[in-house]
Symmetry: C2
Amino acid sequence: MSEVRGKAEAARKACYALAGLPVEVRDAALHNIADSIWDQRDALLEANKRDQVAAEAMLDRGEITGAMMKRLELTSDKIREIVDMVRSVASLDNPIGKTLYSLELDEGLELYRVTSPIGVVAVIFESRPDALSQIACLCLKSGNSVLLKGGSETRFTNQQLFTVIRDAGKGIPEGWIQLLEAREDVKQLLEMSDLIDLIVPRGSNSFVKYIQSNTSIPVLGHSEGVCHVYVDKDAEVGMAVEVCYDSKVQYPSVCNAVDAILVHDDIASMFLPQLLERFAGKVEIRGCSRVLEKVKEGIKSATEEDWGKEYLDYIVAVRIVDDLDEAVEYINSYGSHHTDAVVTSCDEAALRFMGAVDSASVFWNTSTRFADGYRYGLGSEVGISTGKIHARGPTGLDGLTIYKYYLKGKGHVVADYVGAEAKVFKHRPVNKKWVQTRTTSLPDD
Amino acid sequence: MSEVRGKAEAARKACYALAGLPVEVRDAALHNIADSIWDQRDALLEANKRDQVAAEAMLDRGEITGAMMKRLELTSDKIREIVDMVRSVASLDNPIGKTLYSLELDEGLELYRVTSPIGVVAVIFESRPDALSQIACLCLKSGNSVLLKGGSETRFTNQQLFTVIRDAGKGIPEGWIQLLEAREDVKQLLEMSDLIDLIVPRGSNSFVKYIQSNTSIPVLGHSEGVCHVYVDKDAEVGMAVEVCYDSKVQYPSVCNAVDAILVHDDIASMFLPQLLERFAGKVEIRGCSRVLEKVKEGIKSATEEDWGKEYLDYIVAVRIVDDLDEAVEYINSYGSHHTDAVVTSCDEAALRFMGAVDSASVFWNTSTRFADGYRYGLGSEVGISTGKIHARGPTGLDGLTIYKYYLKGKGHVVADYVGAEAKVFKHRPVNKKWVQTRTTSLPDD
């Protein structure tokens, strides 16, 4: 058996025991992890220093950028933030064991749909020292085992953080957390549909796309965020300009930044000059031929590649459309079903746009930048999904849960419900909660 | 472009328009479909006759069984049942446009999580004439486009039924329903992750397994149903015997029939003779060595292949375990996470078993045969899923839905929520529903 498979099997074995643990045990372990991270901050900073030395050499060789270098740096302040994050995950509501509904199928025969962990989650994440701890803690909170594969640029930091978390996870079944380090391990992971229930890839578009198309294991995430703002003929122009500005300039290098602005022909002559003025010197505008007809200066000509492109930069494509339907059709074909906004004062137009645009998040008179787990009030974010099943859009802890059906009877048999003398099901909703007993006591501290 | 891809693209295009249709239009189309199926029953019966003639030849050549032959037969009574089914789907609650929750992020900035269709669903189904109509109607009710691929044994019936449904779908965007006929088309489907959002395979274990492991498109379904009954030391023996009997004998050829009975050592000597007596002449029992020690006659010796086997027949494996933990561990490793039951009078044991067994349905003192969408009160069943995300266990219409986030603001921008003067999010739950306007009027009748 390969080393990776051994780790996945250990995680699978642990997940069954983990699923039965009461939330008090999981929360106590989280607090213990927070304490340990703080106690061992010197060792963490030292490990991070080793990563930085290696990264400096890579920077010299031009293999990484200064921004990447900056991102992997760990400081005492950042460790404090990590500790706070771990405690905040501990303070979140227990996502497991919630009764979603209960139904009396017949006298004494009660059905409960109750939230449960998924099982084994594999997360492949970017080189940021806080990523590992965030993911590990979200998985622990939701009762899932986790396989972690971080970027090689934070290898030493990841090793140290992993060791601290594993050793501090008091009362949690051994094996629940596993660290993978080699790039080749990922390829093996993708084949283990018998051991892994969900893969969460975080990172570059091409990387996520590679994962999505090379595994039969369900994937939660998004490769691209090609986002649009449609400025309707009934838009308030000042508001439209500010929504476009924030959607692009507030943080252009992220998935929920706007990539293309669509403007209704009727309002284009009024809107475009104001947009140009606001974007001047900050954002490069690439216009379609109809835009170029209306605005002669300060705009580049868009090429076919600009439509459906995610810039992650201070660039935006602008296109004139004849009506709302054209905007919707454009967005559904060129977009990535991530986040799209309409600016309009007309309720009917807004509702029609929002109903017809097939994206995880559809906004009305707001910046696309609001598409985010924290802003949505989800607490902590696992990722943003552009998939169409399970979880869509910014995804919090509930993306790491599923449900189980519990049926409690008194010796009920199906034979009584068939044939000439068949008993009839009641299917009566009852407002009862499934109460799980503890399977273990709290660990000693 | 291949013919299959053309059909998938037409379905994709239609799904956007379909998603915006009000439920009244979808329900009206369903009633129209019901009328048409009844009106055109003669053509349907005639098409089915052609399938039967072909099937008889296959039966003579030993290519199909008599049971399969029987299953593909259509009668006036069956057409009446199909018509009733279509009307019952029309009468189900609208699964689309339900506000799951709403949250005021800040003054005037409201977030809604609202149910929506998935998009394009491909269903590959067994040779039963009612399968096509059931699936098509569930997809229409939930606003999804559907690609249908039925068994070749009901080719003519499927063609006729497809034509009737397509032509009767008044007001529904053209292209929403597509029929595929060639076996090779399935292979092409599996590659179209850009056009298909969900595959629902129904059929033999090996077929479903093939689908699951050869596509990156999400799959809803189950290959195997390896189900267990664990008879605890505190079981009421008479009840345990009857639960085992019903779980096996009531209908042995289905996924939720029991395959292995695990019995606690303490109660085995009392339980086994009664089980044998009840199963005598009906069910073949294959026991582990410890069972054979206790019961000398009327039992075969189980081999390693019997553990984890789905029989779909009047055969059951029986195994003695030392305690509940051993039963749980056995079920989690040998089972298929479908349906498993415990028989016990001890609440603590039942809860521990139900918490630790990682199956979609976990039962207490009831037959495994209850795991079924109709019995669960789901209305109509799409399938039974042993997957760990999206939908688990018997899955009704909600397995064909996902959600969208709607955010409504008044020109809100993210820049106001960052920095020194940052506004603070309220994240206040509000009890408001998202109301979608009609995008089209009811079609004329």
